[in-house]
Amino acid sequence: MKKLCGAAAIILACFWTALDRLREKQKRIRLMRRLASSLLELQDELAEHQSSLSGCFRSLAAKNAGDAVGGFYAALCGEMLGLGELRFSEIWRMAAEKCFAPAGEAVPDALRPLGALLGGSELERQCAALERASRRLEQEAETQRNVLKNERRLCFGLSLSAGAFLVIMLM
């Protein structure tokens, strides 16, 4: 009976580990999607109202409060106080690296070109760059979602096989 319980616990642990890993990946995909949609919101705000970047960041931080996207915009709001000593492009790069490093290189890579353009005098180029970055993040999210689908099957299969193997060994 003890062996059976142990084997069941091992199967559950393997299953749980796989599930946890997949959940992390899913979270990363959701984050990319939210970031992509926030970039489009920023683009709309700039194109329609020519609002200041600080104002846009404040409202995006409030709207996305509690997750990394909100954290990113909140960090930008805070760091904007250092303008003059730091260029906006540096502030943008540092915030992107700090807030999205756990999400892998894809997010900072997609955001990097925006740092040099946002805040400049040519609004059309900024809006086009925001759209490009948003599209790139959406594509990356879609790619990762497809990978995740395959990984999900593989992870569950492997974790169950590993668990079953251990059960046999223990029995």
Binding site: S52, M80, F88
Partner: protein
């Protein structure tokens, strides 16, 4: 915060102590030119600091800080030469992006920060004289940097504190600067071109006098013509050294010929001091 301190906050940190040391000279302008040390204008001359030479990057940083990294929001004003941040007026020179119709500068070569100041009462004595027997439409004239906006601001305040409803067309927030007192009975409209602002004021605020700074373009002159004949007084300013100078320019000659303005307030500058003279236009 006084305008000089506000300007210092925008400046590159390495110039701060050298600039601060000149505060006692009451500078009117701070200038950054690529390849030259920074300079300040007081009296009638520019005074250069013994400091590092300015780079294009310095000017870009100042502009980024002044606009909160939102240069696009000031792009339209920049294309017309300057934009205002509180009591500071930032004028820029450089290479405009191809076509000139774009919204920006490809690079910057000069930056002039003019510090708007409030000299209460400098024109108060003229306010009553202008209102004797009904308001006489008045044009304030002086060369660039001559103190037209400061005089206009003081006249508006004196008239508005005297109970006259003054509608102020403050296209780029230079008159009010967001910080200056324009009197109890003033109504300020900003962010609109002069003609739209004048029509809005006439429709909605029932002004007795409409005041506007720097009328120069054909659009501005049209706005003045629209106001003229509506039973509203006109107070405006224009670039000119004096009456003769003004009459050399066809557009102003026409306005004066049409009887739009009946008085000139001429500002002259000698030895760093300004004098004001009210002249009747025959």
């Amino acid at each position: 915060m006084d305008p000089f301190t506000a300007a210092l906050e925008l400046m590159p940190q390495r110039y701060e102590s050298a600039l601060r040391a000149q505060a006692g000279n009451a500078p009117e302008e701070l200038r950054l030119r690529v390849g030259q040390p920074p300079s300040l204008l007081w009296g009638e001359n520019e005074h250069f600091l013994s400091a590092d030479r300015v780079t294009g990057e310095d000017i870009a940083r100042v502009l980024e800080k002044a606009t909160g990294a939102s240069l696009y929001s000031a792009a339209e004003a920049m294309r017309q030469g300057y934009f205002c941040v509180g009591a500071l007026r930032l004028g820029i020179c450089g290479r405009v992006t191809a076509g000139g119709g774009g919204s920006g500068f490809a690079s910057y070569s000069s930056l002039c920060i003019r510090l708007a100041r409030e000299y209460r009462g400098i024109c108060a004595s003229f306010a009553d004289r202008l209102c004797e027997g009904g308001f006489s439409n008045t044009l304030i004239v002086a060369p660039p940097g001559g103190g037209k906006t400061t005089a206009l601001r003081d006249l508006i305040r004196s008239l508005a504190d005297g109970g006259r409803r003054v509608g102020v067309i403050d296209e780029r927030c230079e008159i009010s600067g967001g910080v200056f007192d324009l009197g109890r009975c003033s109504d300020v409209i900003s962010g609109l071109d002069k003609l739209s602002a004048a029509l809005l004021l006439l429709r909605s605020m029932d002004p007795q006098i409409i005041a506007s700074d720097e009328i120069s373009s054909p659009g501005d002159l049209n706005a003045i013509r629209e106001i003229f004949g509506c039973g509203v007084g006109i107070l405006a300013s224009a670039h000119a050294a004096g009456r003769e100078d003004l009459m050399k320019r066809g557009a102003y000659r026409a306005l004066i010929g049409e009887g739009v303005f009946t008085r000139l307030l001429v500002i002259r500058r000698r030895g760093g001091k300004r004098s004001y003279a009210l002249e009747a236009l025959a």
